[in-house]
């Protein structure tokens, strides 16, 4: 749209002020968090000079190590499961003729986006408690399944977008050239879909890595992920070690989201 002299939102009084406040509110706390992760002292509010010591201490902290490993295992498994399910769901909602209730299926896939997380968390807590009583199993799979479930919509969105943007003629051409459905999927659909699949998996990974509420409710004793470990630490002494861990998490998330963005912008061939 052409810029109009009569109305330019940037010239409205207060615009610059409000915009700036939003930026400050959003980014100042994060900047401070990052800055204080390099604090030489033990305070998270008083600057005493630059040091890497909190990164070193976090790195050497066995609890942090365990929580990190657990977080990575859960995020990896959950994003694999969620992405696989999302690919199948996206195929079912874009590659079949509209069936009765396909709208409902779409809504159900996206259910985690609509139901309050705390409700899901409580529901899962109760449900898994029943299973735990019945089977006695207290392992990691509860967390992996729970994470997979709420990651599916995030993996589903980019995959579905990619599928919808794809030329249906390509799959028909492959079938015309004697390709059976599964081979057409592997040789034509999947290679085209790949950027969407990667993007979906990365998004799911970040979402899983970041989760507190559901993890806190579902985890068994000793199953701390990085976010729940940090939450636990906050109840005791707060040192810049928390800042250091947060900064690393932030760096990983930003890297993944940037990669996701580049992938989803990648030329739709």
């Amino acid at each position: 749209m052409a810029k109009s002299r009569a109305f330019d939102v940037r010239r409205q009084s207060g615009f610059v002020f409000i915009a700036l406040s939003c930026f400050v509110l959003l980014y100042l706390p994060i900047i401070l968090l990052v800055v204080y992760s390099f604090n030489a002292g033990t305070s998270i509010a008083v600057w005493e000079g630059f040091s890497w010591q909190w990164y070193v201490s976090a790195w050497q902290n066995e609890k942090v190590q365990d929580a990190t490993i657990l977080s990575l295992i859960i995020a990896t498994c959950a994003s694999l499961v969620a992405t696989t399910a999302a690919v199948m769901a996206a195929l079912a909602t874009t590659r079949t003729t509209k069936f009765r209730g396909s709208g409902l299926v779409f809504a159900m896939i996206n259910q985690p986006l609509m139901i309050p997380e705390i409700v899901t968390a409580v529901a899962l807590l109760i449900f898994f408690a029943m299973i735990k009583v019945a089977t006695g199993y207290t392992g990691l799979w509860y967390l992996i399944i729970a994470h997979s479930a709420f990651c599916i919509p995030f993996a589903y969105m980019p995959i579905r977008a990619r599928l919808q943007g794809m030329d249906l003629n390509l799959e028909q051409a492959a079938a015309d050239l004697y390709g059976r459905p599964w081979r057409v999927f592997r040789r034509v659909t999947l290679p085209q879909l790949w950027p969407g699949v990667l993007a979906g998996a990365m998004l799911a990974f970040v979402i899983s890595l970041d989760d507190v509420v559901i993890t806190e409710f579902v985890k068994s004793a000793g199953q701390d992920t990085l976010p729940t470990y940090m939450l636990g630490q906050l109840r005791r002494v707060i040192t810049p070690e928390i800042n250091a861990i947060s900064t690393v998490l932030l760096a990983i998330s930003v890297a993944l989201v940037v990669a996701f963005y580049i992938l989803s912008q990648s030329k739709k061939q």
């Binding site: 051409a173 079938a175 081979r183």
Partner: protein, 356 residues
Amino acid sequence: MIEISGLTKTFGSGDSAFTALKDVNVTIAENEFFTLLGPSGCGKTTLLRSIAGFVDPTSGSLTINGDDILSKAPYDRPVNTVFQNYALFPHLTVAENIGFGLEMQDRPKAEVQSVVKEMLELVQMAPMADRMTSQISGGQQQRVALARALAPKPKVLLLDEPLSALDFKLRKEMQIELKRLQHETGITFVFVTHDQEEALTMSDRIAVMNGGRILQIGGPREIYDHPAERFVADFIGDTNFVSADLKSVEGDAAEVHLPSGQAIEARSVAGGPTSGAVTIAVRPEHATLTAPGALLDGTLKNIVYFGTDTHYHIETEARSTFVIRQQNQPDSAEDHKVGEPVGISFNPGVAQVLRD
């Protein structure tokens, strides 16, 4: 041999139902260059996709060499398609695209390689074998699409307006190229176009379609010289329509009385009227300009010089326009004048009685 009988396709149901194919009957012979010709939306693509297996006909039967193929999935039908937008695989090279059908059939690697090489040479794309399909021009993509469809040596090749995206010069070249390929491979071609000139120059036989029906099937000359229906006469080339009175029909010959009262022998049409008021069609170049007192008389309204020929626009006594096209001779002077009374004449058997 493809035998299609009673093929009907209705899309949707209830109020939104739309019948795109209505009782289509056609037999296409082995090694034939068969063209489906008709305006946009007449059902050509729907018919082609029914043969390929992407449209499921509502009723009717479709066999290839006696095998019922309607019950088969697209990947089990011995046909290949050249898609209108080519549908080349963007993540594969030119050579991989061409080899795709053979790969899906699990042919041995060595065979795939040698067929791909042969196809690359057939369509003169050998130097581009390792390019991605986005790195070649539209005309080259067209050739790759053709090679890809020919590589598995199908019994039937279906081509959906394969030349419509090419510019004029390239289109003319590819028309000749396609004819050559059809001749060399001996494969049956079912070719879809809305371009009547393309249909006339390339086909062994043409089926003219409109509104989901096949109106007429015949060789290019027959379709052009003896259109069976007004739509066919109008869609292919230019035609004069004259109302006449049909007196009698004997085999191919029909006796008609023109508005001037003159009688002439016309050609009858199978399944057409045997008497009463009819319309006859006369091609502009099949009539000659004469002195008044001919089959039809009128006034010369306009003379248009076209280089190769001259068009005379005549207003007949029945107040309709009749166009005569006469080939020009070198250094001849125009000896007619606008406004003068003239006659229109044509030979017996030239006028065609139309079905409706």
